[in-house]
């Protein structure tokens, strides 16, 4: 009993006829197509599709009949279609978008199953299933799902073969082999298309994917917001360094910069109200290629201070964050250069200084008083920063994932009562005290550190690496990063959270990390996935151009690429035609064949076209039964033609030349006669 699942179809093929197998194949392919969306479709859709499929299959087995074609039933179909439309509308609140469209397509395919009678109907169903496959490819391009997509394509092609052949000689197994061979033969074309099909820049292919839960940093920070992210172990982005890898403690990935504070929540100000001072970039830049997972916000992340924007629809703001026009709804890859050291060349503008030292008047009174007292004890701003950090170090502050809830005066509660907090608490409190002491300060959220994948030599930055720190303006230096968390828990800078607060992560993640073997497996899997994303899914126009340049075709642009592709496609078609030439019995029809074909064309409206295997005499007999009044001329022509093609007279060219003219005249007369109405 090896591979019983492969053997089953051939056993069916003995009990089921070719027609039944073709219908079953259409059902199976539609079910597979819907199964690709099983996780995202509403349950009622799945139930309805399954019901229709079962009905159709029972009809194949002649257990129940198919719905007929009477007017009542057609009205019922119309009603069912409307109902499906309304149900989709009710489930998704729209008919637009990928998810709703998929549900609608599944329902229509299922209803179509109930009226599949002809091969054409079955082909329509397979077409719907292939469209479902396309939708699945748009919705999810991860590596784990790719085998299922391939399987579906394979089975669909086999179903098309079964539907087209409808012969007992083409069993499901034969059809699968045929489809497999055809798909394998298509691989070179697929590769060429993948490499050279012009990728339209921008989000041309992207469809609105609809409500997806957002994981990632938002544009505001409350005392508990970062803590919630820590539970998420999934990657935020991956980084491949194209220059020297910075040390762990320098891996600050800047995200949203939060400047406005209401005493509880830090927010990103939506408008650039002040001009940030121009900076001078110091040291060698770090070049990174970042593959950002979709997080449905507009931030793009990069190491420390970015030098320039990687793309035209992404802006580099005054406070050096990357903000795109569109939210990141699908994976993007980009290369940026960052500087770890910068220096301001001009002082902060007055407006900027005012905005970045602003605090809500009524909130956190104790902190403000404390800041004023602390500021009085030191001479300059740098000493003030050190004193505050010293305060954190010496006053028993603890780094914890489970800080007590705070009131609206969150900084007061943290600084003087609980002294227990996460990075957000420290950053918020530090920035507040700095501002209260007259030092411009802002909170920066982002990620710190990341896990090095030694197999693929890249860094995985996870949601659990989310972090918040502060930047203060020091005259002469400009914006300077100060991470108060690092003072309390210096290890956080060098090690991931998993080592510091193992309880922060789920039991599953901890388990995976305990075994080095499993961890290595995870890294390998992540590496394969990353490769898939980077070089397959994210293969874009830029990479296409790089490839062309490597091939010495650098000067071709978008248009050149299209022309190249078209030329390649034409050559491919010509090659197919060349390899199929033996199917053409006579490559160029001779004079006799032309005359005969013109007769067939004239007679086709009477008796239908001549079938490929139909002989001249058989066709003439068919014409005769259609128009008995024209009988003799048709039969004469067929006999005359047969004699010329197969008889001995075909050998002598002179006689056959005259005979050809006779035949030609007979065909013309026949055509004239045809125009007369039958008596």
């Amino acid at each position: 009993m090896t591979q019983p699942w492969l053997r089953m179809p051939s056993r069916w093929s003995r009990t089921l006829g070719a027609e039944q197998i073709a219908a079953t194949a259409a059902i199976a392919v539609l079910l597979l197509g819907v199964a690709l969306h099983a996780t995202s479709l509403p349950v009622w859709t799945l139930v309805a599709v399954l019901g229709c499929a079962v009905w159709r299959f029972l009809a194949v087995l002649n257990v129940v009949p198919l719905p007929g074609t009477s007017r009542t039933i057609r009205v019922a179909f119309l009603f069912a279609t409307t109902l499906a439309l309304l149900a989709v509308l009710a489930s998704f609140r729209t008919l637009n978008g990928l998810a709703a469209g998929t549900a609608l397509l599944s329902m229509m395919g299922a209803l179509k199953l109930l009226e599949t009678r002809t091969p054409r109907d079955e082909r329509v169903v397979v077409g719907v299933a292939l469209f479902l496959l396309l939708a699945a490819c748009l919705a999810d391009q991860s590596l784990t799902r790719t085998p299922f997509y391939l399987l579906h394509a394979w089975v669909s092609c086999a179903a098309l073969a079964l539907i087209a052949q409808r012969s007992s000689s083409v069993t499901p197994r034969v059809a699968l082999r045929l489809a497999g061979r055809a798909l394998l033969a298509a691989v070179p074309v697929a590769i060429v298309f993948f490499l050279f099909f012009p990728r339209v820049a921008g989000q041309f292919w992207a469809l609105p994917t609809g409500g997806t839960a957002t994981t990632g940093l938002s544009d505001e920070m409350t005392p508990g917001s970062i803590d919630r992210l820590i539970e998420h172990y999934e990657p935020a982005f991956r980084v491949r360094f194209e220059s020297a890898v910075p040390p762990p403690a320098a891996r600050y990935w800047r995200g949203p910069v939060l400047t406005s504070f209401d005493g509880y929540t830090w927010r990103r100000s939506r408008f650039a109200q002040y001009r940030d001072a121009p900076i001078e970039r110091l040291g060698t830049p770090v070049r990174q290629r970042i593959t950002l997972e979709p997080h449905h916000r507009q931030w793009w992340f990069a190491l420390d201070t970015v030098a320039a924007t990687p793309r035209q629809d992404v802006f580099l703001t005054g406070d050096h964050q990357l903000v795109s026009l569109e939210p990141v709804d699908e994976t993007v890859s980009y290369t940026v250069e960052s500087h770890l050291q910068t220096r301001a060349t001009e002082p902060l503008s007055t407006l900027g200084r005012r905005l970045l030292t602003a605090l809500p008047g009524s909130r956190n009174p104790r902190s403000r008083r404390f800041a004023a007292e602390l500021r009085a004890t030191v001479t300059d701003e740098r000493a003030f920063v050190s004193a505050m950090l010293e305060y954190f170090r010496t006053q028993g502050f603890q780094y914890s994932l489970e800080p007590p809830r705070t009131s609206a005066d969150s900084v007061d509660d943290f600084l003087f009562d609980s002294k227990l907090g996460f990075c957000g608490h420290f950053a918020s409190a530090f920035a507040t005290v700095m501002r209260a002491g007259g030092v411009p300060a802002r909170v920066v959220t982002g990620y710190l550190g990341g896990e090095w994948n030694p197999i693929g030599s890249y860094l995985i930055v996870r949601q659990s690496d989310a972090h918040a720190w502060t930047e203060v303006w020091l005259d002469g230096a400009g914006w300077t990063r100060v991470d108060p968390t690092g003072v309390v828990e210096p290890e956080r800078l060098n090690r991931g959270l998993i080592d510091l607060l193992p309880n922060a992560l789920s039991a599953q993640t901890r388990f995976l990390h305990r075994s080095p073997w499993l961890a290595r497996m995870l890294m390998s899997w992540d590496n394969v996935n990353h490769w898939w994303r980077e070089s397959m899914v994210e293969f874009d126009f830029r990479q296409q151009l790089t490839l062309l340049q490597k091939m010495g075709l650098g000067a071709t642009g978008w248009r050149g690429l299209a022309m190249l592709l078209a030329a390649g496609f034409i050559i491919w078609l010509l090659w197919i035609a060349y390899s199929l030439r033996h199917l053409m019995i006579r490559s160029r029809p001779d004079r006799l064949a032309q005359i005969w074909q013109s007769f067939c064309a004239h007679a086709a409206p009477l008796a239908g076209p001549r079938l490929a295997h139909e002989t001249a005499l058989a066709f003439a007999a068919r014409v005769r039964s259609a128009r008995p009044d024209l009988a003799n001329s048709a039969l004469d022509i067929a006999q005359h033609y047969s004699r010329l093609r197969y008889g001995q007279s075909a050998i002598e060219p002179t006689t056959s030349q005259r005979a050809l003219q006779e035949l030609d005249r007979a065909v013309r007369e026949f055509a004239v006669e045809l125009t007369r109405q039958p008596a």
């Binding site: 079938l611 295997h613 002989t615 001249a616 005499l617 058989a618 047969s642 093609r645 197969y646 008889g647």
Partner: protein, 305 residues
């Protein structure tokens, strides 16, 4: 030509409503092939053989095959003649112009093979002497496809010795009524005049070979042979020998249709009878489904334009 048509007309009077198989049987004879009739008992196999012999003016014999039949029972045996002190070959029933081998699959393989060898060689060798069989020599063998117990199925190599395999099948409604009303058809046989003579048949067999084969027709036959070899569901395609048989049979059919050249129509008409028993499906369903398979192949090959 008229003699052949007269023969066909006489045969159609005896075997009612079976003009296509009867025509095939005559074509098989004209193509110097042997005929295998596969059918259930009682549909007129023997009557057909008898009528053929009568109408064609041939002498005929019938051998009922059984499992204990020995080769000598068919071919003949050498007997010691005491008076002349030497062995005399006593010819068996195979020394006739038309041999009806009834239920050929009941005999042992040894006997079958002796018969089939004689059929192929048209001679019998015994004690170092070669005895030529009369001319024309034509074997009509029958077998019952449904009975399997105690039979020896003819292997493919043996089936190949038969140019055609046909089956008569039940008569249609009107003809069956006529049969029932008129009684035994064999009673009509003695009154049947011979339309042909053995010498005339030999002449007709020679003229079959002169029926013209055009290049287009050979293209068509080759396309058919290729189709049988390239199909996924066939274990074995048609051999070149089968292709030769197909062409000879088509030539005979063209002669019967009064043509001097073979048309694709002729090839299509004889294809099922010539190819049906030579094709074996991959999953082993050879015999019963053979004819519809042949139709499949005919429909898959386009006729040259």
């Amino acid at each position: 030509m008229t003699a052949l048509n007269a023969a066909l007309a006489s045969l159609d009077q005896i075997i009612l409503g079976k003009s296509h198989p009867v025509r095939l049987a005559l074509a098989c004879l004209l193509a110097r092939g042997h005929l295998l009739i596969e059918d259930v008992p009682g549909v007129g196999k023997t009557t057909l053989a008898h009528a053929l012999a009568q109408v064609l003016g041939l002498d005929w014999r019938r051998v009922q095959f059984t499992s204990d039949l020995l080769p000598a029972d068919i071919l003949g045996v050498s007997v010691f003649d005491r008076a002349s002190q030497e062995f005399n070959f006593r010819k068996g029933p195979i020394f006739t112009q038309l041999l009806l081998a009834d239920e050929v699959n009941r005999a042992s393989p040894k006997t079958q093979s002796a018969l089939l060898e004689a059929m192929e060689e048209r001679q019998v060798s015994a004690d170092g002497t070669t005895h030529h069989l009369p001319a024309p020599f034509f074997v009509v063998a029958t077998q019952n496809p449904d009975e399997q117990i105690g039979t020896f199925r003819l292997p493919e190599s043996q089936l190949d010795r038969f140019l055609m395999r046909i089956s008569l099948g039940y008569p249609d409604h009107a003809h069956e009524r006529e049969l029932l009303a008129q009684g035994d058809r064999r009673d009509l046989l003695p009154g049947l005049a011979a339309s042909l003579t053995p010498t005339a048949i030999i002449a007709q067999q020679a003229s079959v070979r002169n029926i013209h084969l055009s290049a287009a027709l050979l293209d068509y036959v080759q396309a058919m042979l290729r189709e049988t070899r390239e199909r996924a569901d066939l274990r074995l395609g048609l051999s070149p020998r089968a292709g030769q048989g197909l062409i000879r049979a088509a030539q005979a059919w063209a002669l019967l249709s009064g043509r001097d050249a073979v048309l694709p129509d002729d090839v299509q008409a004889v294809f099922a009878a010539v190819a049906g028993h030579r094709l074996e499906r991959r999953d082993g369903m050879s015999l019963a489904a053979g004819s519809s398979l042949a139709d499949d192949i005919v429909q898959a090959v386009p006729v040259p334009v």
